[in-house]
Symmetry: C2
Subunit: 200 residues, 2 copies
DNA sequence: ATTTATACTGAACCTTCATTCAGTATTATA
DNA sequence: TATAATACTGAATGAAGGTTCAGTATAAAT
């Protein structure tokens, strides 16, 4: 799209800044990440960050929107590969883990929401992401339930349970060796589907 | 224990400060909570906080230790009531939800760990809490597995899955009506035990 | 080639916030 | 009652961090 050299450079810089910021926010949290941290990580200048983004808050919201956009896009591109709920969930796990686009920001988002509680627009915006995520789960589970894959149950509640599990996994997997992360996700989803009790 | 009026007053004040701090840390995060916030919540003075606690960091670590201590204590007092794993887990849920002593601090702890990454002592101390929590799960699950309640499986991994679920529940339940929290926990633990798929 | 717009720099600014400390009030001790 | 210890206050300090802006370089347009 950008035919001239300048726009191209500019977009690359913006991406570089966004990438660094996402990684920092996800590991150090929202308040824990300073503009100076991003400067140190990118070699760019403070002013340049404010040239590309309105503010720290704006930068974070940009990441949230980008996240949401790319998430939906990527999922749409591969969803048709899967038929059973289990396959879908494994696909979900893979998308979440492999290109860790998803939850790196969940904790920071939550922190962001409670810390920047004052602004109703911020609150509203960020809450939307959480809600849409649960809604995504709800639809997936409802569909499986309609097909008879899942036992009849309170879908909304199961969606929240699944969301909780995924958020928690994102949390704990930051502390474990990344090689085992996908394995952990799969095991967790197995448990979600099949439980842990001994069958007779 | 404190026979004189002054010590008694002092301990009450310290408790008041700790209680307010715990609530603030759990909702606003570690960095998101300022000493000024605690001042506003308690009516106490800045200096008084530093009279009772070494620093903000020290205050947080105090809360972690207190949490760990009370958690173990309370669990020990009621553990014998439960026999099956399901009962134990429901008891766990109740302890976690009703007197929300447990996880209020999990997110803040994680933020604390990654943000205060520099100090190795802090790191070490806080990591211990996470590890001991997983170890607690592991023992409980191992015991149930030995009794034949659970299917043979990778206990360590299940312990991490359970921990993830609990962390995530703590996270999401902050956003939902508190009346439904216990119900959500129970449903989540049901899922952990029995899964969600339709049985033939 | 000159002008204009875009991309970027870094020092200065200002607010927030943790921490300190000199002083005060209250209770315990002698 | 006098002295000492304890519990507290709140203004001052200094560091950290978000934001601004005047200026510079580079590319696009005329």
């Amino acid at each position: 799209m950008p035919m001239n050299k300048k726009k191209l450079q500019s977009e690359q810089t913006k991406k570089k800044l966004a990438d660094a910021a996402r990684m920092l926010f996800s590991t150090k949290g929202y308040k824990g990440t300073s503009i100076e941290d991003i400067v140190a990580a990118t070699g760019s200048s403070k002013g340049n960050i404010y040239y590309h983004f309105q503010s720290k808050e704006g930068l974070f919201q940009y990441l949230l929107e980008e996240w949401d956009r790319e998430w939906i896009e990527q999922w749409a591109a591969k969803e048709h590969q899967f038929t059973t709920l289990k396959e879908k969930m494994y696909g979900l796990a893979e998308q979440m883990v492999v290109n860790d686009l998803n939850h790196p920001l969940t904790r920071a988002t939550d922190e962001f929401m409670s810390s920047e509680w004052e602004r109703s627009d911020v609150q509203e915006n960020a809450a939307k992401f959480i809600a849409s995520h649960i809604e995504f789960n709800r639809k997936m589970l409802q569909e499986a339930m309609d097909k008879g894959e899942l036992a009849e149950d309170n879908v909304q509640m199961l969606a929240v349970v699944l969301e909780s599990l995924l958020i928690g996994l994102a949390e704990t997997s930051k502390r474990s060796a990344s090689g085992e992360t996908l394995e952990l996700y799969r095991k967790a989803l197995d448990v979600f589907l099949d439980g842990t009790v001994k069958r007779l």
